[in-house]
Subunit: 204 residues, 2 copies
């Protein structure tokens, strides 16, 4: 439980106690799942009392929502910046897959909660997250469709290809561990080449 890690993960969240609770929440939810974790478990892990937790988050679900919202906003930002930086559809997909995969590898514990604990969210919060997920998916699909339209890609169904691209990145959160020997950035570049070939860019 290092304050520096929580500050790195959530630079926009303050005070430090809230970030520590988010980190304790991530570790608990990733380890035993949302439903098996109590607010007392989280508070204890963060070195606080359950009452202190409620100062920052009204409920366990509110804490999960903050972790999920922040994680989805980060991946949306990673996606948008990579696409802008890329410029052409081919370079956008290369940058996007590199960064999206690297994010899921580097942040694998956070990403596991972000990707696999969605259904524990209450309906209203789930709707907010579903909206962020649609924006991520749409950003990727627009690039895939642009590349199909200008002849850069050979794609039968942009929606399916988009789904497959996102799956390659998301699934990294399932299997990547601190002991994985391939560095996040290296894995990102390897997957970017595979992704471009999948879109019919054989020289990738």
């Amino acid at each position: 439980m290092t304050p520096s890690l929580s500050a790195e993960l959530w630079p926009d969240v303050s005070p430090d106690a809230a970030r520590r609770l988010m980190l304790a929440g991530v570790e608990s939810f990733a380890g035993r799942g949302f439903h098996a974790t109590t607010t007392r478990d989280i508070a204890t892990k963060a070195g606080m009392s359950p009452a202190a937790l409620y100062v920052h988050f009204p409920s366990k679900a509110a804490l999960l929502f903050e972790i999920s919202r922040s994680g989805h906003e980060q991946t949306l930002r990673v996606t948008q910046r990579a696409i802008e930086r890329g410029g052409t559809p081919v370079e956008s997909v290369r940058e996007l897959v590199t960064d999206f995969v690297a994010w899921h590898a580097r942040r694998h514990t956070v990403a596991r909660v972000v990707q696999y604990e969605l259904h524990a969210l209450p309906p209203e919060e789930f709707a907010v997250i579903a909206g962020l997920r649609r924006r991520i998916e749409r950003a990727v699909r627009d690039v895939v469709a642009a590349g199909a339209a200008d002849g850069s890609f050979r794609v039968d169904d942009p929606a399916t290809a988009t789904r497959a691209l996102l799956s390659l990145g998301i699934d990294v959160a399932r299997w990547y561990t601190d002991r994985t020997r391939t560095a996040p950035a290296t894995l990102g570049r390897q997957y970017a080449a595979l992704a471009l070939r999948m879109l019919g860019v054989p020289e990738a």
Copy 2:
């Protein structure tokens, strides 16, 4: 809770009560996670008493192990049969991805427990499952390596390409629901074409 579904899922398990408990376990673990589920929850869902559960499974972990072992043996069989049927590396990958993806779509609730509740297994049981996973991975990697060797595939790193192929299938269990409009077999064929392109078979 239909006995016919549990019989379809686990034709080799008997008696019917054991299959009903496995189905109740799958639904509970997929819904709330292993740690948040009690043996009482599972027994009640199966219309039985907790004591009756212990007649068939000595513990909740033993039930999870049976679900996991059976699911991994099924995917290993699906993988091996597809590879044999395919013959050439290209056709083997086509058959393999088609069937592996279709299995994860059709059996998405079972697959979710099989793929995402591994770490709840006790060490000895985890070792058995890890062995099955290595056999699945090796079967796929051998086909990828054979295709790289005979010039059918253009692959920089067979291990990474194998990981990506398996990811495409496994991640289907995360997002596929009973409301998904693409049928399992159709999705399997679409992903097989994407997978072959990823391996440098542009005409796929």
